[in-house]
């Protein structure tokens, strides 16, 4: 007997595999709407088909300790490890946690800088998804004085 919760979880995992294999119908570019709709960090990773993340010293996230303006928070995610498939940036307390997914190739360094919006003070996660499926993360708390979502 499968509970509804299990069914949902399995379908999310399978959807992740399908998306990874390029089998899901839809736009030619693989925008993973499901992952970007996910409310929590764990759900977003699951929707991407990544394993349960483990904290790692080899992944670095840089950003301000206190952000005056939550609409523009500069965040860098990087790792020194080889064999990185994707770098993700997630903001835990945003309406949808996943902000950006970077699909890396051998020709770029695993070091991405961008600017994100933050609705309120929250932990910000940088997750490195490795070629073997491991997910490693680093997190940093950023305090926001003026939120960047909503009015």
């Amino acid at each position: 007997m499968q509970t509804r919760r299990e069914t949902l979880r399995h379908s999310a995992i399978v959807a992740g595999w399908l998306a990874a294999a390029g089998l899901l119908p839809g736009p030619a570019l693989a925008f993973n709407a499901k992952a970007f709709d996910a409310k929590s960090v764990a759900d977003a990773l699951k929707a991407l088909g990544a394993a349960a993340p483990a904290e790692s010293k080899d992944v670095t996230i840089t950003g301000p300790d206190i952000a005056d303006n939550g609409a523009v928070v500069p965040i860098s995610a990087s790792t020194t490890l080889a064999g990185v498939k994707q770098l993700l940036i997630l903001v835990e307390k945003n309406p949808s946690a996943l902000v950006a997914v970077f699909n890396l190739s051998d020709s770029v360094d695993a070091n991405m800088s961008t600017r994100v919006k933050m609705g309120q003070s929250s932990d910000v996660y940088a997750v490195a998804v490795m070629n073997d499926g491991r997910a490693l993360f680093a997190k940093k708390e950023v305090r926001v004085t003026l939120g960047g979502c909503g009015a």
Binding site: L29, A30, F31, N32, A35, F36, A71, V72, V73, P74, S76, V91, N94, P95, S96, L98, V99, A100, V101, F102, N103, L104, S105, D106, S107, V108, D109, N111, M112, S113, T114, R115, V116, K117, G119, G148, C149, G150, A151
Partner: protein, 103 residues
């Protein structure tokens, strides 16, 4: 048609640092207008960067990326004179591609 993407690619020590500034509203879908109606989300969803025509980086973005998004990354082995192009597509299907030369 959206405004031009500003790209600067500078070679340093065998790599090139690419800085990209895209002109886009990046509406979150959370805000409401004066009449209390939710403003629909409008954001860049896919970004592709190519070095001399070869795709080196793709990204998927949600509405959580800031307005007029900034992106910085390094391309290994890029030399002055190489071409770097960046294209994006938003969730309304608009696209824009811009190209620059590594200096």
């Amino acid at each position: 048609m959206a405004d031009a993407t500003r790209i600067r690619a500078q070679a340093a020590g065998g790599n090139a640092t690419v800085r990209v500034l895209m002109a886009h509203e990046m509406e979150t879908g959370q805000r409401k207008d004066a009449a209390g109606k939710t403003i629909p989300a409008w954001h860049i969803s896919d970004v592709t960067a190519a070095h001399n025509g070869k795709t080196v980086l793709t990204a998927e973005w949600g509405p959580g990326v800031s307005k007029n998004p900034f992106l910085q990354f390094n391309i290994k082995g890029a030399k002055p004179g190489d071409k770097v192009s960046v294209s994006w597509r938003d969730n309304r299907g608009d696209t824009r591609t811009d190209e620059t030369t590594v200096t």
